[in-house]
Amino acid sequence: MEAFRQIVESQLDNLLNRGSNRDMSSNPESPRGKAAERKARAKPVWAEGLRRMYDEVVEEQLPDDFAELLKKLDQTSDRS
């Protein structure tokens, strides 16, 4: 079923991109045709942005209420 879906997906892509002969739609690394070229140019920018969006939160200092919650968890395990 998955294989079938992928075939239809790639055919739809070909149809909708009107002959910009991209082979596998799920592979953005195969830049052929105008649409693919545009996307190849756009991709690294937002892909890097997406990672940064995530990393920025990872690098934030944990708010105090997290430390408080951890302390509470410790207490519950002491009692058990």
């Binding site: 937002w46 969006m53 919650l69």
Partner: protein, 194 residues
């Protein structure tokens, strides 16, 4: 401390603490609202702690807690305590944050575009594109087939690209072409999975 059968040297609390920043990042990406995101993470921490004996040391704490967080998010969304939708106030706050460097991308545009994706695609892109999980790991977390995860990521990418690259940085012109494309593929997913 009765950490039961955990092997010596395994510290559940320390392991969980280490992944908290990632849980916050995932949660914020899912719901787009920092305050709700932290509530979700704390709820997930409580659940993870309660279930700590079922965690298998040596497996990925990040994956394990992401599944819990995801379930918290979904049940909250279902209960309508909040909806995982675009929030103009939060977006405005985020937009006023410093933009990225000289890379031609406004982070606010990216955040808004992410929140315009369907929850499944947003999640897929967060796991694979932002969190760096493999398709297999992401599929495990989202409890779907690897092929489904791959196509979600591919379509999420396409939607983002359409939103971000069409008319510069400001607009979100969604071409009718992509919309119908997307709808057809969603229909196929329903047929394939249903």
């Amino acid at each position: 401390m009765t950490a039961a059968k955990a092997p010596p040297g395994f510290d559940f609390r320390a392991e969980m603490t280490r992944v908290l920043p990632h849980l916050r990042a995932f949660a914020r990406g899912l719901c787009g609202r920092p305050d709700y995101a932290d509530d979700l993470v704390q709820e997930a921490m409580l659940k993870a702690w309660a279930a700590r004996e079922s965690f298998q040391p040596g497996t990925s704490m990040r994956s394990w807690t992401f599944v819990i967080l995801r379930n918290v998010y979904l049940s909250e969304a279902r209960r309508n305590r909040f909806r995982g939708e675009y929030d103009p106030d939060a977006a405005e706050k985020l937009l006023s944050q410093p933009a990225g460097q000289e890379d031609g991308l406004h982070m606010g545009d990216l955040r808004s575009a992410m929140m315009r994706l369907s929850p499944e695609r947003r999640e897929a892109l967060l796991l694979v594109g932002a969190g760096g999980f493999s398709y297999e790991e992401a599929a495990d977390i989202a409890q779907c087939a690897v092929g489904t995860m791959k196509s979600r990521v591919a379509r999420a990418r396409r939607s983002l690209e359409d939103m971000l690259s069409d008319d510069g940085q400001s607009g979100f012109k969604s071409k009718t072409q992509s919309v119908s494309h997307t709808e057809i593929l969603d229909e196929l997913d329903r047929v394939a999975n249903g």
